[in-house]
């Protein structure tokens, strides 16, 4: 199992927010993560100051490089934090993975792990999560998120082309009345 990367700090039925242990150590957009038995797809991430009312200020005027800014102000690493939101797309019950919303939301302080290729492969045998993502209320554009998630998943497949075609066909059925959206997603699926 991979090392934990974050901890749940806010959770509801459809999503959970997590704070990373290390600043900027965020999972990529569209990555599959897991906390407890719940699977989520990273749909939003942000880095900001700890206190909502206190904005970071520009510090690099006299520094030679970006890294030097952090070196001369080591407290920054403690004052800033990286957070991401994952959309809940499924859960595990026994050995089976169900791509439905979980019966219970994630637990606060639950550890979050990045899913390994085997797990991603197992999860992506089914495309039920696409419908959850299409209907989720997201900050990032849905098209971008779905395309990012599928690109990520296709990377671990033996035949990534066949995987993308199958996913595309599923999307074509789901978006049968919204061709423009479908076209935008398909246009973003190409890796090369």
């Amino acid at each position: 199992m991979s090392p934990k990367i974050a901890e749940v700090i806010e959770a509801d039925t459809a999503s959970f927010v997590a704070q990373c242990y290390e600043l900027y150590e965020l999972p990529p957009l569209g990555a599959l993560v897991k906390t407890g038995d719940i699977y989520g797809i990273v749909c939003h991430a942000e880095t900001a100051g700890m206190e909502p009312g206190r904005k970071p200020i520009a510090r690099g005027r006299d520094e030679a490089s970006e890294a030097a800014v952090y070196e001369s102000s080591p407290q920054l690493l403690k004052l800033l934090r990286s957070e991401f939101t994952a959309s809940a797309v499924g859960y595990q019950d026994g050995n089976k993975i169900y791509q439905y919303l979980p019966p219970q939301p994630a637990r606060i302080h639950g550890f979050i792990y990045l899913c390994q290729p085997d797990e991603v492969k197992e999860f992506s045998k089914n495309f039920g999560f696409l419908n959850i993502l299409i209907n989720a209320a997201l900050t990032a554009p849905t098209e971008e998120l779905i395309a990012a998630a599928l690109r990520q998943m296709s990377g671990v497949q033996e035949d990534s082309h066949a995987f993308l075609v199958a996913a595309g066909k599923e999307l074509a059925n789901l978006l049968s009345n919204d061709f423009i959206k479908l076209k935008n997603i398909l246009g973003r699926l190409k890796i090369k």
Binding site: G168, K169, L171, A172, L182
Partner: protein, 536 residues
């Protein structure tokens, strides 16, 4: 390999079934006229593809098409957002339980449920519907794009009058030859063929190819060639069995009525014929031709109240008939008796017209002979019924240019109109060959049992052929899209459902062998084998 095409999406008994094609099935492989099965929940349906369409789920797809050069996008969209559709007209159904399996295919009275699977018909399906080649069934060709043999029950076929239609050059003659061979081999019926263009008896022509064998060359012992023009037959190297001559006294007023248009006779002139017949009896024609102008004639005509000009008009017309060399004052042998003798022995008769291909000769001879043969058949059948003895062999009379005999003006007067209407009561039926079916009386058309039609493109012709057939509009699209050659649509009494087919090959050495051997194996089983044994 599965032949699944797609699933039923909408259906109506009246309008047919819409099928959405599965993604791997190319819409370009679907051709109108192909035969499919629908696996319903309780029964199977048999139907024919009658339309092919493209569908999109979102109208915007058609307005702003995607980049089809991208193979990925094309692959994703095909079968999902863009898909093929076929329209199937269900024709027959077969129930799932044992009882209905035994009953065989029934006309369709219901429709399949939603999302039933649609498959291409297999050889077994075709066989189940049309039957296997057996002593009654004759292979006439293959359904379009299939290897399966399409068999026609000829016992049933000859029970009704039938028609073969199609534009000139679409293969009517070849199709007719095949059917005649079928009737000759697989049914009890005998053929009488009025062969206007000398195509059926000895040998026929094929467009751009060597001559093809006729019936006599293939079935020496079962076919007799009669000719009206001995000299022409001899020149073509045809061995004829009998030379037909017609006596003046054999021509009846009804024959003249039929020729009114071709002989350019007026209405009163035709009326006069009846009066002259009453006056002079059987030898009326000879008498009329002998009448010279003069006072006596005038008196004679006045006594019958025939106008002089009508008489002259009639005389001119009759002179045309007299010029036909096979018409003689007295026929040496009775042609009708001779034909009947052959038919009784089960020998098929082809009457060649030689050089006399003009319509006057054809209409006159065909009508005259057929009328007398028919009346013989009528009295013999009636006698057979009364004395419960075997009726004469069923007779199939083949006529070409049928619209000349069966057009609405004359069909009530010609014997062919009567045969077509009264049908099989007297064991005589017609095989009508024509290129202008719209010229045939609609009443006669409606009485035809089985119709086989090659390509037709005139709207009126198509309408008249398909009149009264269920699913007419769908069949129309099939008919209009037949290939210009060697494809035909058959529907009616002898087939359980309409089917587009490609007639079997005729003209190669192998095809001749197939035709002749098929007859041996089924018609006279045993004999052939016995002969072979003798030579071992």
């Amino acid at each position: 390999m599965t032949d699944k095409l797609g699933i039923v999406t909408t259906a109506s008994l009246e309008k047919g079934v819409d099928v959405r094609l599965d993604a791997p099935v190319s819409v370009e492989d679907m051709v109108v006229g192909r035969y499919v099965t629908i696996e319903g929940q309780k029964r199977r349906f048999f139907g024919m593809i009658t339309d092919v369409r493209l569908g999109v789920t979102d109208e915007r797809l058609a307005v702003s098409p995607p980049d089809v050069n991208d193979p990925f996008i094309a692959e994703v969209l095909s079968g999902t957002s863009t898909f093929g559709q076929i329209h199937v007209t269900p024709m027959l159904t077969i129930g799932g339980d044992a009882k209905s399996m035994l009953e065989g295919p029934q006309p369709v009275k219901t429709i399949p449920a939603h999302f039933c699977a649609v498959n291409l018909a297999t050889e077994d399906d075709i066989e189940r519907v049309f039957g296997k080649e057996d002593p009654q069934r004759f292979n006439i060709g293959n359904p379009l794009d299939m290897e399966t043999k399409l068999c026609l029950n000829l016992e049933e076929f000859v029970k009704r009058s039938n028609g073969i239609f199609g534009k000139s050059g679409t293969g009517k003659t070849f199709l007719t030859r095949i059917l005649l061979i079928g009737i000759l081999q697989k049914s009890k019926a005998v053929n009488l063929i009025f062969d206007m263009h000398n195509e059926y008896g000895w040998q026929g022509t094929s467009e751009g190819g060597p001559p093809v064998k006729g019936l006599k060359q293939l079935f020496q012992s079962k076919v007799a060639v009669f000719t009206l023009d001995e000299e022409n037959s001899r020149r073509r190297g045809v061995s004829t069995d009998f030379v037909v001559k017609i006596g003046y006294d054999e021509i009846e007023p009804e024959d003249i009525v039929l020729l009114r248009q071709t002989l350019n006779l007026t209405e009163p002139a035709v009326e006069a014929v009846y009066q002259l017949r009453r006056r002079f009896g059987k030898s009326w024609l000879q008498n009329v031709l002998d009448i010279e102008g003069g006072e006596d004639t005038k008196e004679l005509l006045d006594s019958m109240s025939i106008h002089e000009s009508s008489f002259q008009n009639l005389k001119r017309g009759l002179a045309t008939i007299r010029r036909l060399p096979f018409i003689q004052p007295h026929a040496p042998v009775d042609a009708v008796k001779n034909i009947l003798d052959h038919l009784d022995k089960g020998i098929n008769v082809v009457l060649e017209f030689g050089r006399y291909r003009d319509i006057t000769a054809y209409v006159l001879v065909a009508n005259m002979l057929a009328r007398r043969i028919y009346s013989q058949y009528q009295s013999r059948t009636e006698k057979a019924m009364a004395e419960s003895v075997a009726p004469p062999n069923p007779l199939v009379i083949t006529i070409e240019e049928a619209h000349k005999f069966l057009n609405p003006e004359v069909s009530s007067q010609t014997i062919f109109g009567t045969i077509a209407r009264e049908m099989r009561k007297y064991n005589v039926s017609l095989l009508v060959i024509d290129q202008r079916p719209s010229g045939i009386d609609s009443e006669v058309m409606s009485q035809m049992g089985t119709k086989i039609t090659c390509l037709l493109d005139n709207e009126r012709d198509i309408d008249s052929v398909l009149a009264g057939v269920s699913g007419k509009n769908e069949l129309k699209s099939v008919l209009a899209r037949l290939a210009p050659k060697q494809q035909a649509l058959i529907f009616g009494h002898a087939v359980p459902m309409p089917v587009a087919f490609q007639p079997r090959e005729y003209g190669s050495a192998k095809s001749y062998k197939d035709f002749t051997s098929a007859g041996k194996s089924s018609a006279s089983t045993g004999t052939g084998k016995d002969i072979e044994k003798l030579w071992e």
